[in-house]
Symmetry: C2
Subunit: 360 residues, 2 copies
């Protein structure tokens, strides 16, 4: 990220394609930053996974895959959760695992139906922790109206994993007329953000670092399929949906800009953030645009429908703080810029290193 | 397991419901044996997972879940792989992960279609190991005729995982007329085993322990959907399919016997095993019936069709050594017995502890 550097929107045009000065391309070993959701994650995906596994589905680089079986359009997604600590304000790894996969399906425009869950447990992990997490899994599944239909459990020796890791995969069904795809971002589209940013990352980090604030900072972890359904009631023609988890709002928008070959311009003053979270970010030295979220989404919608979609979102309990935070622009293809509070314009680059390891 | 103890088939009837004398029910912490695929795994699943997540799908305790979406019957399955070491004779964790999930789908009677893959990588893991494993994943997917459509990558700090763990989940489609279910085991059904036992477990263990044999013992890791397809060509009315992975042939048959409330009786002399594997089991002190397999399956078929199914299996390259190894009997509900080589009859109980940790 480039902090404090300001430039004119038009000047930025020539900046496209610039990269971080760090040599990120030829690591001989896996770094923590390869899991950070930023440039190194992209690099690993592009240079190792896509190079070998290349196919039309993976190349979409979406939160899930969409395909048809006997005429039904289905979404399929997977996520492993390694959050540390496993319990944090706003709940735990179990709730995160269910909602994470529910949201990935919702971001494909699908109604989540069935989830799998696979545990990797560390020898010596307290049984009551397992019980507590499984109880959260059940509660989250019930709330999200999905069924955990299949599972797996592995145990590894003490010191070979960290208490527990969880994988959830999920299947959902996509209604006819719905076509969510990063590549559908169009010039003029409004960028809507459904709620306040950085809550999840800061809640986990403050627990991990033993920080205390006047009010407890809680993860925003929540299922978003209901909010998406409310948006579809207004129009099925939503172009892009994305939940800005690892790497935050900045990384998600950079991915969309790169994928659709468009520019995106944000207005910092419109980005909703809780005062205490903003304060915590300042103390911890984090740019909130790069901090992970687990209960908000970004939607790109044609301008003529944006206000109606926004109104519908605000009526939903997971969209009370929804705002239009920017728009898709003709200039600076692949680059995200932001008009800052003090009136300048800066580039909002993709996260280049590791900001918050094991945040989800 | 109860080794060497012999009794008459009819005597065994009264032994049903007996349990291992170890107090396995009230562990306060996770033990390695909770991941062994035996009694403690069952205990964990029953007392923690099923207690909370109870639903018609999970209660089937199958390798995967079967459900309908818009009239199509689909199978959905998940598996995490934590095998140690990640490279072993016969390939590596990547091939295992693809074939494991392909086989779980095939054991539901489904044609495998789409897989997800999620990596948890340890900081410091050599990039060429990642590259090598991903290359295996692609090769295995191609051979198994499935597409890896979606994925995820997480990285944890050095010492918080062991090089890499992989989760694969998968979706397959089930043809009309196919109804594979452990509960369908019927008195008289023949138990067919598709090939030689214990190859995978012994190959991994000998690598781990640095043992050398005259001929290299290789894992039998292979996709079995083609073999299942060949069997369906003879009859769609196969009652049960199961790949005896963790816990081996003994545990798989015990699960079937318990689930269908039938007895199963085996003939030791008919169970195919390679001479060098039998020798290795003796040296290492393993009962091959409990050793993990990754490329064989058990099928329960009505007696009138068993010979035809067997003949079809033997024509397939993954079924060359197929044999009828036993049958479903009226006596000793829930118990598996075996006529031993020396002519006695012994109970083949479920694995009660941990024999081979991290075998898959």
């Amino acid at each position: 990220m480039i902090d404090g550097k300001t430039m004119d929107v038009n000047e930025v045009d020539s900046a496209q394609g610039f990269t971080c000065p760090l040599p990120i391309n030829n690591h001989e070993r896996i770094l923590l930053a390869h899991g950070g959701g930023g440039k190194l994650t992209q690099d690993l995906i592009q240079k190792i996974f896509l190079l070998q596994l290349k196919n039309e589905f993976l190349l979409q680089l979406h939160d899930g895959a969409v395909f048809s079986i006997n005429g039904s359009r289905l979404a399929f997604t997977t996520d492993s959760f390694v959050v540390d600590p496993i319990f944090f304000p706003g709940r735990d790894i179990g709730m995160l695992a269910v909602n994470g996969t529910v949201n990935d399906l919702a971001m494909c425009g699908a109604r989540p139906l069935y989830l799998s869950i696979a545990f990797i447990l560390e020898e010596g992990c307290p049984m009551h922790d397992v019980r507590r997490v499984v109880s959260s899994v059940q509660e989250a599944a019930k709330k999200a109206e999905v069924i955990i239909v299949t599972g797996d459990t592995k145990v590894v020796e003490r010191g070979k994993c960290d208490k527990m890791f969880i994988n959830t995969s999920g299947i959902g069904v996509i209604e006819p007329g719905v076509d969510i795809n990063s590549r559908r971002a169009r010039q003029g589209d409004k960028v809507i953000l459904s709620g306040r940013i950085a809550n999840h990352g800061i809640a986990v980090m403050s627990t991990r670092e033993g920080l205390e604030f006047e009010t407890e900072l809680r993860s925003d972890c929540a299922p978003l399929h209901g909010l998406v359904e409310a948006m579809f009631h207004v129009t099925k023609d939503i172009h892009v949906l994305r939940d800005p988890t690892r790497g935050g709002v900045a990384s998600a928008l950079n991915e969309i800009a790169a994928s659709a070959r468009v520019g995106i311009h944000l207005h910092e003053t419109t980005i909703p953030i809780a005062e205490e979270v903003e304060g915590a970010c300042e103390i911890l030295g984090f740019d909130p645009l790069y901090v992970a979220n687990e209960g908000i989404l970004l939607a790109l919608v044609a301008p003529k429908e944006a206000d109606l979609v926004l109104a519908a979102m605000r009526k939903h309990h997971h969209g009370l703080h929804a705002r239009i935070i920017g728009e898709v622009v003709r200039q600076h293809t692949g680059v995200v810029t932001m008009k800052t509070k003090i009136g300048g314009t800066r580039v909002v680059d993709m996260l280049s290193g590791e900001q918050l390891p094991r945040i989800c």
